[in-house]
Every structure is written in C-alpha cells, then in structure tokens.
C-alpha cells in the first residue's frame, strides 16, 4: 500500500513537470481504487452500484482541474482521497442520502482488487451534448475518436493552441454542468 502510494506521488510529480505518459499511467492506476470505493459507498447507501462509473468520472475530472492545489512536496494519496471523498459525498447527497464516507474506503482497496466498469456512464456523455458546439466537437474528436490535438486542429481548421483552449474550457464547463445539475 505504501509503495503504491509512493508510486502515485512520483507519477504525479512527473506529470506536473510535463510527462504526459506518467499522467496517463497515474490516472489509469487510481481508477480501479476510486471505482471500488465508489461501489462501496453506493452499496452502503443502498444505491445501485452500476452508477459508480459516473462518480469515478466526476472524481477524475476534479483531480484534473484541481491538481494545482496539490503540494508537490506532500504525498499524493491523502489529497486524492480528500477529493474523492468530497465527490462521493456530493454524489450520494444528490441521490437523496446523507451518508458518512470513511476515508478508509479509499485506502483499504487491496492492490489485487481491480474491478471493471459495469455500465457505460451516462452523465458525462449527456452533459457533453449540452456544451457549446466548438468545445463539444473538440472533446468528441479527442475523447471518442481518439484523434490527436494536431489532427483535431487540422480537421476543424483551428490552430493547435485554439484546440487546447477549447479542450480545457470544455472539460471545465463539463465539470461545472455536472456540479450544478
């Protein structure tokens, strides 16, 4: 467990200094842990666990957009679990339950425990449709069609800089829509 969390901290430091591959590995590594915790939280609240993927995506978006609040000299896991806990409580509250989420829900996950997603999540996809056309096109091109930023720029006759801006704004407004729905 210690080792795993130290590895996350190293990956996040590399990610922040510009290593995209490290960032990808980190997000992939934390996802099953978040998924397990989301399922446990839903189960305890008597909610169907097939909604866990919406919560996982919510947490991943928050991790991404708030990563500048992580102090690079501190361990990554407590920061991550604080964000995850906040988002999980929010999600359960929205579903009409007040519930205490134990921080151990996140830390407890055993390394071997890697649950697979159950149902394709609906909330992010639904909110994606409500974005301004430019942001939606760019997000869809990069996320769904897995086109690179360069090729997306060529496809929509935009500069790469403009694609990057639309991508970031798209992610930020997606998060705002998920929060305020």
């Amino acid at each position: 467990m210690r080792e795993r969390e130290d590895e996350w901290t190293d990956l996040m430091r590399s990610a922040i200094s510009g290593d995209d591959a490290a960032y990808h590995r980190l997000l992939k590594a934390i996802t099953p842990v978040l998924r397990a915790a989301a399922r446990r939280g839903l189960a305890r609240a008597g909610q169907p666990v097939d909604q866990s993927e919406d919560i996982v995506q919510d947490i991943l978006l928050a991790v991404h957009l708030k990563r500048q609040t992580w102090d690079t000299s501190a361990p990554f896991a407590p920061w991550l679990f604080a964000i995850a806990r906040n988002k999980l409580i929010d999600a359960l509250r929205r579903r009409g339950r007040r519930i205490f989420v134990n921080i151990d829900d996140f830390a407890e996950t055993l390394p071997g425990e890697t649950p697979e997603p159950t149902v394709s999540p609906g909330e992010v996809t639904a909110q994606l449709q409500a974005l301004p056309a430019r942001q939606r096109d760019v997000l869809q091109s990069i996320a769904v069609d897995s086109t690179s930023i360069k090729d997306t720029a060529a496809k929509f006759a935009m500069t790469e800089g403009a694609v990057r801006v639309a991508l970031h704004r798209g992610l930020a407004s997606l998060t705002a829509k998920l929060r305020d729905r």
Partner: protein, 212 residues
Amino acid sequence: MDTDQLIRTLTADNAYRARPIGLALMLALLAAAPVSLLIFFAELGVRPDVMTAMHNPFFDLKFAVTLALAASAIAVSLHLSRPEASLRSFGWWLLIPAGILVAAISGEMMMPQRTPMMTRLIGKNSVACMTAIPAMSLPLLVGALYGLRHGAPARPAVAGAVAGLLSAGLAATVYASHCTDDSPLFVATWYTLATAIVASVGALMGARALRY
C-alpha cells in the same frame, strides 16, 4: 464517453497549467480594490486631522488589528483552498488580530482617560462603521471568492467565511483612516460586528461559489 476515453482526454490536457491560487487571489483582489476605494473616496475620505492622529498610538493600533486580520485570513484562505486541509492546523492564526485587540484594550485601560468607557465604546461613527465596512468589503469579497474558485476547499462555507474576514480586514484598514473613533473598545465592538456581517455573507456566498 467511457472512463478510458475520459482519461485519454485529461492526458491530452496535461499541458494546461492553472494559475497558483495565491496569484489568482491577488489578481482578483487587485481588480476589486479600485471599486472599494471609489466607494471610500466618494463617500468618506481620509479624516482631516490624519497627520496629528498618526502620533496617537491607538490610531495606529487600528491598522495593526485590521492588517493582522487581513493577513491571517489571506494565509488561512490559501491553506483552506486545498482539499485535504482543515481549520484545525492554521485556524488559530485568526486569533492574532483578536489578541492585538485585547492587548490594546488593556493598554487603554491602564491609561488615564478624559472620556468615560461607554462613551468611547459607543463613539460617534458606529453607524458609518457598520455601513462602510460591509459596503467596501463586498467588491473585495466577490473578488476573493472569484480568485479562490481555483481552489478546492473541503468546506466551501467555511472557506467563504474566511474570505469574508479577509475582505473585511482590507476594507476596515481603509475605513480606519476615515474614522475618528480610535478607542480599541470602539474597534472591538463595531469593527467586529461589521466583520461578522461580512463573514456571514461570505459563508453564504462561498457555500455556493466555492463548491468544486
């Protein structure tokens, strides 16, 4: 969009660098400050005897209290903008201005006074103080909340209240140069009430604005 696709998209956005919270907060406060100063100079202005007042230690102490409030609330705000932070470790910083105020009151008690205690406490400017500090705080509070939206506070209402304290501290610093009531008893009563109003407004606004 499945989770792998989302992760790929977030990775594509890795190059984006958000402003550090401290910088975001400072820029937002600098943008809001002219509005507060406009209210001050249009409605109040610096007191005419400011040059002689500066020789009165109790006039100067008002600034020590309000600046200590602003500085400690800024530090606590920045701390609270982290998701894993709580008031527990840094909250006591907010007691520094209160401590200065208590020391000032005891200092004044030990000196011979021409006016009775209640007269000093009630003063002449209580209404102005209670109106001007909240009015000048409001633009700063909006600015502070805007800047702090870059953060991820665990308790948005608490973070909003501290943003209220920092705005009130800054507004009261400017207001103190207008107010002719220099007794620490006056400050402890009316400045505190005005600050409490702003902190409550901050808590209400923050509960919505600072959710992430």
